[in-house]
Structures are given as C-alpha cells and as structure tokens.
Symmetry: C2
Subunit: 414 residues, 2 copies
C-alpha cells in the first residue's frame, strides 16, 4: 500500500468534464491511498476569502488578459469564437485527477472509500484559518423561473462560513449575500448570468447584504458532489449530468465513511473528484450546495470482473453507495444518457429532465440489488422496498435528475 | 377537556371516502381527546388473523348474500348495476369518523396531535394477542407494469407479524405470501384483481409460500396513512388521492408524537382517520404499506381564523407536519386536484400522476413556510432550502403523487 498526494494545480486538475483522453495526474495500484485536494469552482464568488493567498487556488484560478491557467472549462468547443469561453461552460466542476488505476479494465468495479474529509482554510490575512463556501441560487436552479419577489429572474450568491471546531457537529452560518450583476471576464466577455465557471466577481459591482439568515445554523454535511470515472462514450463529457460511472450525483451521504462502487468503463478507470460541498439538502434545490473547497483522504480497491460473481458487485452497471448504516442506488432520468440520446446527448439531456423516470430507474436498480445481493425473489424484493426502503429526491438541477433509493443494513441483520 | 372513545363499528366508520355529508360519529370541543380505533381495509387478506373473533372487525367486515354491514365502499355510484360493488371501490380506506369539532369553520386550522399508537391484536384462538398486517403489491403499485418474473402482471399479498414487545424498537417479520387469485364476493362478483376493498380472500384458493424474507427484520413505523378533513368540493370524495385537507398522505412520520395541521374546509371540520400502517418506506412503492389495524390516542385543538396571523398557521392552505425534530410540507401533483380538474377530478387525477409538479408544489409550500413563519426573504429561504431542506418521495401510488419537503427545527435554534 502506497500513500500518494494530489495537490491542486493546473497540472493535476481538469475543469468541467470527465475524460478518458487526458493524461492521468497520478497512477496508483489497487489498495493505495491518496490525499486529494479539491477546489470549489465557486471560489471566485468571493476571491478574497476563497482564493487570495492560497498558492494552489491562485495557480488554478489565474486568469488575466495574457494568461489563463486553465483555459478549457467544459466539454464544449475549444476552437472558433466562444459565446461564454473555451469549453463553453458545458460542465462546470473543477475536478482533481484523473487518477489512473493500474490494471483496471471495462467490466471491473472500482471501490472508492472516503476515509476523511476536511475543509481548506482561507489564506487571506483577514480570514486566516477560517473556512468559507458559496451557495449560488442560479439560472439552472429549480426556483429560477418560479420566483415571487422582484427582480425576476435573478441569481443570488450567499457566502457561508463553516465551523468545524466540533468535528462531531460542524455547522455553517451565512455571512452575506448579493444579487449577481453582469461580470466582465479578462477576455472581455460579459457574463450577465452565471454561465461560465471561475469568473471572478468584482466586489465593487455588487451590493452585499449582511445580517441575513440570522440565528440560522446549517448542520454541515461535508461531501463531494462530483466523483466518478470517465465514461467510454466520448473523450470529453460534461461534468454536469450524473451517469452510469457516477459523476455529479450530489448526494450529501457521499462523505466521510462512505464507500462508492463504480463500474469501470475505460482502461485505467480514470477517477476524478471535485465539487466539494460543506452542506446540501436532498434536491440541491437552487442549483448548488454550500460549495466549499475540501481535502479528502481516499482509498482505492479494484475489483476485477472475474471476481464479482457472488459478491455485492455482481452485474453492477451503475454507482452504488455503502455507508455504515445503509446502501443507496441512484436513479437518473436516463441511466446512461450518453447512450440513450446519441451525439447531442450532452446538450439534449437538459430538455428531458424529470423525476418520474429517475424514480423508475431507482426502483429497478434497488430491485436488482435486493434480488442479486440478497437473493430475494422479485416478490420479496418488491414487498420489502414498499415497507422498508426510502426513495428521496437527490437533485433537480443537474439536467439528468436524480432519485436515490436506500435500504438500511439493519434490515438484514437477522 | 373531555376524553372520548370511538370504537370501530359500521356506525362509526365510513369506507372509501371523505365526506361533509355523512352524520358525525362524534362531536367534540377543541381541547378534547379521543381514543380512536381504526381497521385496515386489507384485514380480509387473512381473515383468520385479522378479523375472526374480533367483534369490532367482524361487525364491519360482515358481508353475506343477505347482509353487507357497510355497503358503500368508495365515492363511486351507489345505484344501478355495479362493476365492482357499491361505491365501486373509488376510494378504499376504512375510516373512523367523522369527528366534528364544534365551532370549526372554513378558514380555521385544526391541529391534530397523535399522543399514542398501538396495534390491535388478533382475537383468533391460534394467534391470540399477536399482531398482523398485510402488504399488497397491487395493480396500482409502481411495479405492476414493470415486473421481470412470470406470471406478469400479478398481485402479491405478504402477511407480516408485528412485534411491539420492545416499544423502543418494534419490528415486523414476514409470515407468508401468496399470489392473488380471482375471488368471488358474496354478491357473485368475481374480483380478478384487487379492485374492491374488503373482499374476503378464500384461503383454499390461494397457494401460501412460507419461509419468505428469511432473516429480514422490518423496523416498524406505526402511523396512519390516511387522516384529514372533509373537502368542500364534493359530498363524497375518494379516499385515494391526498389533497389540501390531507387524507391519504402516506407519510410514515405521521405517527406517535406528530402534530398535523389541516385547513378546515367545511363547518365542523369533519376529521376522519384510517389506513393504519405498521411500516412503510418513502414511496410506498408497491401500493401499500404493512396495513395493520391500530388504535390511536388523539388530541384536537381548533385554531380560529382570526387568531392565525403571526403564528405558524398564518395563511396555511395545505397539510403541515410538526414533529419534535422537524417540519414537513406535502407537495402533490395537484395541490387541490378537485378544484383543478373539475367534475371528473376523482377519476381523472390518476391520468396525470407525476413527481415533477409535486416537487414544484413542495418547493412553493416550503418557501412560503420559511418566509411567513421564519420571516426570511425569498433569497434567504431559497438558499436555506438548497443547503438544509430535504425533499423525498412520499408516494407514487395514490394518483395524486407526493413529494415532501422537510426542514429540521435545530436549524433555527440560534
């Protein structure tokens, strides 16, 4: 077992996509551990608190008229003239990796254990050692076309401070919020809405509102919103819609102590992780969580395809969560939208967003799990799901909407 | 404060509908307590275990060629020739009540506290003192047209035994199951599927499968699936679709310690309760929970409309749950399907079932709650929902599908 480290840098990160085509940031063997730093792509909502003075973050977000450290942001075009910027923001998450796993092949399953998660403190002299995150009620949020107060529509950024002093009961409190105003990037593109990740918000052009969410304490649930493997269907796949190799699942249960199992779709598996969250509710209603840079301690175990029969991984073709208390499967509008929707899948998927097929998919996946892993008949599995499994709304903001189905391990304790 | 008792009987129950038109079984004053017995409408899935020897249950389920104790079952026709039976099974739940509350008027809010819940033991000599329930994977279940094993489609009844010896950790275990076979009722109608409530299953015409769900323990969650007030829109309203006055919400959180708040739609409020459940998961996937007769201890508090301003009940036009830990609102495909769908609403609603508008409705209701009750701005409410509220699938089997939105009280503890 080797212990590795992946720090954030333009060389160890990619922005807005999963990819089987980019060079691995690290190659490991099954059983290895890796400390992986991640950065929230919303850090520039408050550059002072979340970027300034942090060598890693500054190296990644560096963008001037002359120099853009990470030019491609998204799976969109990289040549021609851009509407929003290189990659077109078709995918938004800063991801660390890929981590290649030696010997991994399609048909295998990669187990990823999250051993520890800790926040990345501010390096700015005024905020040193304190931790911050950003929540954006954005144009892709469930509320955007359904607001009641003026002006409509609007995007709102809320900055939170995270307090992890008591590791058993971490929490976050709001610091201030502001309505998004048009922001001009170093290339001269005006971003009237949040349409491209990493644009630095000019704080002279916004109006901060303080004393918000007074006496409100948000229980923290540190987790990684986006984590998974490169799909095989395309070289560059938007990081927004979750799919059969995981990705932007946005389940707050994917935190410390969780094990995720992903089907390997490409040689080397190509694991990437980002979209770190300090807290999120089931649905991620307004489009984001408390987006907050985190560092995780991960262990990787490769399960070869010829060793899966008779294990809980037999036939697994979708992400699966195991925690100390439960298992969860993830249903999506399309289990594999890339295969279902063809060449335009990455843009077309957002036109089909619905919870109804996601519920259907979650039902089928949990039934399969109970029949294969727990050797139940279909009738036993269905009765058990109705009386003991809970289905929840994972997210309604990631184009390929999600419903999770969970069953407690104690049900099988005998 | 007076203490009342409502035992089960044909005179104290109505079957398959909420109604402002039937005579109250009991009239109380605000502040009174009532011990209310309820019966599961699935008791005749195993008459021996759940009806035989129980004077109350026998009086209600009595049905011979000459005598049908409770003829009307559902909000459907009561004259002419029937396809399924009187009332046509348009609504299926045995409900105890109505309980009229003196002085209740439209615009008021009725608070219903569940102080205690206990199971109703078998009276049959072979099973005396033990408690049983039935789960039916039925034709209205989410799985019915999506089965993988033969024969397809099929309905399956699973009988569970409930053990409440340890009141802190009650549980249920499966006893046996059977595939539904055509059952002939005393009037000669053959029920090829579960299409009319209370038909006694002839156990010589089914094949019991034992040793099912071996080593599986279902944590019990005693609650009332159907509980609420009479709507104003019709004299007889199917008990199946939940709506603005509550009804068949099917949330397992509506158990001991819960408080429900319902908007009063008719003079006297007309509260009814039934559909008792020993356990259910979020979604009630296959169409039912563990349907199990229960007795509840209830307290009623009437909040008059001119006293609601500035309280958590201000402007409440939908059911609201309060427990020790959280509040929940209930979103439905249609917040008020009776008003939305017109004269054919009770049959038409099933053609529109979808989680997407239910999620929309739950979002709007929780936003309103946070803005009115907690004095948040819309921007504060939306950020808070995204990072701290959880939305789940309440049910996908009651025609008017449900999504609940929950927020923990600890968030506001300061």
């Amino acid at each position: 077992m080797k212990q590795h480290q992946l720090r954030v840098s333009p060389q160890t990160m990619h922005w807005g996509y999963f990819s089987k085509a980019v060079a691995p940031a690290l190659t490991i063997q099954s059983g290895d551990r890796v400390t992986i730093e991640t950065l929230t792509h919303h850090a520039n909502d408050d550059h002072e608190r979340m970027v300034a003075g942090d060598p890693g973050a500054e190296s990644v977000f560096a963008w001037t008229n002359e120099y853009k450290a990470m030019p491609r942001r998204g799976a969109g075009p990289v040549t021609g003239s851009f509407r929003f910027g290189e990659g077109e923001g078709l995918g938004v998450h800063l991801l660390t990796g890929p981590v290649a796993v030696e010997g991994a092949e399609p048909g295998d399953v990669l187990e990823v254990r999250i051993l520890d998660v800790s926040p990345r403190p501010s390096c700015h002299r005024s905020h040193k050692g304190r931790c911050f995150g950003s929540n954006a009620a954005a144009n892709w949020g469930f509320q955007y076309r359904d607001l009641i107060e003026e002006p409509k529509p609007r995007e709102v950024v809320t900055i939170f401070e995270l307090d992890t002093t008591n590791k058993e009961a971490p929490f976050a409190r709001a610091v201030y919020n502001y309505v998004w105003t048009p922001q001009t990037d170093p290339d001269g593109v005006v971003h009237a809405t949040i349409d491209y990740p990493g644009v630095k918000v000019d704080h002279t052009r916004i109006k901060k509102r303080e004393n918000i969410l007074r006496n409100v304490t948000v229980p923290a649930r540190l987790h990684f919103g986006t984590m998974g493997l490169a799909p095989s269907e395309s070289d560059y796949v938007s990081s927004i819609p979750p799919s059969y190799t995981g990705g932007n699942i946005d389940d707050w249960r994917i935190g410390q102590g969780a094990k995720m199992y992903y089907p390997v779709a490409v040689a080397g598996a190509f694991f990437s992780v980002g979209d770190p969250h300090a807290a999120q509710g089931d649905s991620e209603l307004c489009g984001t969580a408390i987006e907050c840079s985190l560092t995780g301690e991960f262990a990787f175990v490769l399960h070869k395809k010829d060793e899966l029969a008779g294990t809980l991984l037999e036939g697994l073709d979708h992400p699966l969560l195991e925690t100390a208390e439960q298992w969860s499967v993830y249903g999506f509008t399309y289990p594999n939208y890339l295969a279902a929707l063809g060449p335009d899948a990455q843009t077309a998927v957002a036109q089909h967003s619905s919870l109804d097929p996601a519920m259907r998919d979650a039902f089928r996946k949990l039934r399969r799990f109970l029949m294969i892993v727990h050797k139940l008949s279909e009738d036993e599995a269905i009765a058990l799901m109705s009386v003991a499994a809970d289905f929840g709304v994972t997210q309604v903001v990631d184009a390929n909407w999600g419903v999770h189905g969970s069953i407690r391990k104690s049900v099988f304790a005998g």
